[in-house]
């Protein structure tokens, strides 16, 4: 694996990396910065990539770690995400604080990066079965919370 392969992946999937990293870091600037840092780390450590799995999953793992680090340094809780999008009206906010960190990350990687279970599993260091179960629980939790919100 060379820097060329990393650059091709970077250029092809940059928007996906930034979107998911923004969700995990809780801030668009932090997310973008985390992606740049993560790819810099990948360039430095590329010889450690053993090729026993997809390159993309290996890079996603680095990106997720960088986004987590960014969020922790800032002390931001990923219950809201600061982006340039208009604020959601009351009653339509996603209660992400009800989810665990792992549930949020699985949800973000599945939804924002459109990753399959195997890649998510490799990126987060869990089994594909756990990804499916975690995703299901996360969605059910959010659905129930939003249904109760509407009912009130």
């Amino acid at each position: 694996m060379t820097s060329d392969d990393l650059e091709l992946l970077y250029r092809a999937k940059l928007a996906d990396f930034c979107r998911a990293a923004t969700a995990i870091a809780g801030d668009a600037e932090l997310g973008r910065d985390a992606v740049q840092d993560a790819f810099a780390r990948a360039v430095r450590k590329r010889r450690r990539f053993r090729g026993d799995g997809p390159l993309e999953a290996w890079v996603w793992r680095i990106v997720v770690n960088a986004a987590r680090d960014a969020r922790r340094k800032r002390g931001v809780v990923a219950e809201s995400v600061q982006t340039e999008a208009p604020d959601a009206p009351p009653g339509e906010r996603l209660p992400l604080e009800l989810l665990t960190e792992r549930q949020r990350e699985v949800l973000f990687l599945h939804y924002y990066a459109d990753l399959d279970y195997a890649t998510i599993a490799a990126a987060l260091g869990i089994s594909p079965g756990t990804v499916g179960a975690t995703l299901s629980i996360a969605r059910r939790t959010l659905r129930q919370a939003l249904t109760q919100e509407v009912a009130r």
Partner: protein
């Protein structure tokens, strides 16, 4: 509560970002952490430091994407614009109404840098007025500029080669749009070079004694998008006689003294052209010429019959060899915008072809043949025949019906 509603909320939480790739920043961060020094802000220093050693098919290249171009390069784009405007004026006088491209020089910026035995080679880009882009290859004081022709294909691939007596190697550079992430060049010496696509542009180097057999664009997943080759199986399948036939223009023509009193002709003579051209053929009210240069090379040209200067449009004469087995067609067609101004089409088709080209087929976007033009005396011309709407491509075919060249590449 539906799944769709949940998806909608997730979508609104983090909208798809509009992000600009900055690989130079990634490489800079990688180096800073490893070596613990800061990148010098000065542009000259950045050019030296930023191009990171990345092997590309045995060649060393780097990126300096997005860095503002220095004044000298912006001035090169300004001079290119002026040359284009002069060409536009000549074309108009010659009856070839064609709007030439203009680069927005103030927004010129770096795209790629390549280290070669001849020194660093830089590829600069600038937006094209009205959309698209222009680019400029720079090796020391030598520059070569071109612009996007806004051809209709969404997966377009165009390229040029650049060399010369002062350069020990050759360069290939061009544009690969659509989803193209890399370009693979198969060379006549059996080597293959993979080049990254940055801002839709690519650049690479190869030895002087070889030439590209095929240039193909691939997306990030490795899917082959579009390719241009001299022949599907490469020119190796041609017999020596067929190769020779694609490498010569044997029509002797008749001497045609140029009107030396004409300002354009005086300009040509001052630029190294002989006073006497060779009239190859007259087709559809146009004369086609070979224009000998005092340095022994030849350019080719055309002009409407009766034009005061004789010749109005000149093509070739530069380092790109014509005729050659990988370059057997010198097209001088007139193109124009369609009614909706979004795509280009051929309005008139004409040019010079090597001996080995039997016909030129005018095709539409789907590759359907619209018009078949025989090559006689090394000239093809649509004459008074109306070029059908939707004509966007020319295929040069040999006597066996094999496509040996394509326009646009």
């Amino acid at each position: 509560m539906t799944e769709a509603y949940l998806d909608e909320l997730l979508d609104g939480l983090v909208p798809p970002p509009v992000v600009r790739a900055d690989w130079a920043d990634v490489l800079g961060r990688a180096r800073r952490t490893r070596r613990g020094y800061a990148i010098v802000g000065a542009f000259a220093a950045a050019l030296v430091m930023v191009p990171t050693a990345v092997a590309l098919g045995g060649r060393i290249a780097g990126w300096f994407e997005g860095r503002p171009a220095p004044p000298a390069v912006r001035q090169d784009f300004v001079q290119f614009n002026a040359a284009m405007q002069r060409m536009s004026a000549y074309l108009a006088k010659s009856g070839f109404a064609r709007k030439t491209p203009q680069a927005i020089a103030a927004r010129a910026h770096g795209v790629l840098a390549l280290r070669t035995a001849d020194g660093p080679v830089y590829l600069w880009a600038a937006p094209r007025r009205g959309g698209g882009s222009c680019w400029l290859l720079q090796l020391g004081s030598l520059t070569n500029a071109a612009c996007d022709q806004t051809w209709p294909s969404s997966e377009r691939l165009t390229f040029s080669t650049f060399g010369g007596t002062l350069i020990s190697g050759q360069f290939i550079y061009g544009q690969a749009l659509g989803a193209a992430a890399s370009v693979v060049v198969n060379l006549s010496d059996g080597e293959t070079t993979k080049l990254p696509v940055v801002e839709g542009l690519f650049m690479g180097a190869f030895p002087k004694h070889v030439h590209p057999l095929e240039v193909a664009a691939y997306d990030a997943s490795g899917k082959r998008l579009v390719a241009f080759g001299t022949l599907a199986g490469g020119t190796a399948q041609l017999s020596p006689a067929e190769r020779r036939a694609l490498s010569r223009v044997s029509t002797r023509g008749t001497p045609y003294p140029l009107p030396v009193g004409d300002p354009f002709v005086r300009h040509l003579i001052a630029g190294g052209y002989e006073r006497t051209a060779v009239l190859l053929a007259t087709r559809g009210g146009r004369n086609y010429f070979r224009l000998p240069l005092t340095n022994g090379r030849s350019a080719f040209g055309t002009g409407r019959v009766g034009l005061a200067s004789g010749v109005g449009l000149i093509v070739g004469g530069g380092p790109a060899r014509f005729p050659a087995v990988d370059n057997p067609l010198l097209d001088m067609s007139t193109v124009g915008a369609t009614a909706n101004k979004r795509t280009m089409r051929f309005l008139h088709v004409g040019g010079i072809a090597a001996d080995g080209v039997a016909r030129v087929v005018v095709k539409d976007r789907e590759g359907r043949g619209l018009l078949w033009l025989p090559v006689r005396d090394n000239v093809y011309d649509s004459g008074t025949t109306r070029v059908p709407a939707g004509a966007v491509q020319l295929d040069a075919q040999d006597a066996k019906g094999r496509t040996v060249a394509r326009v646009p590449r």
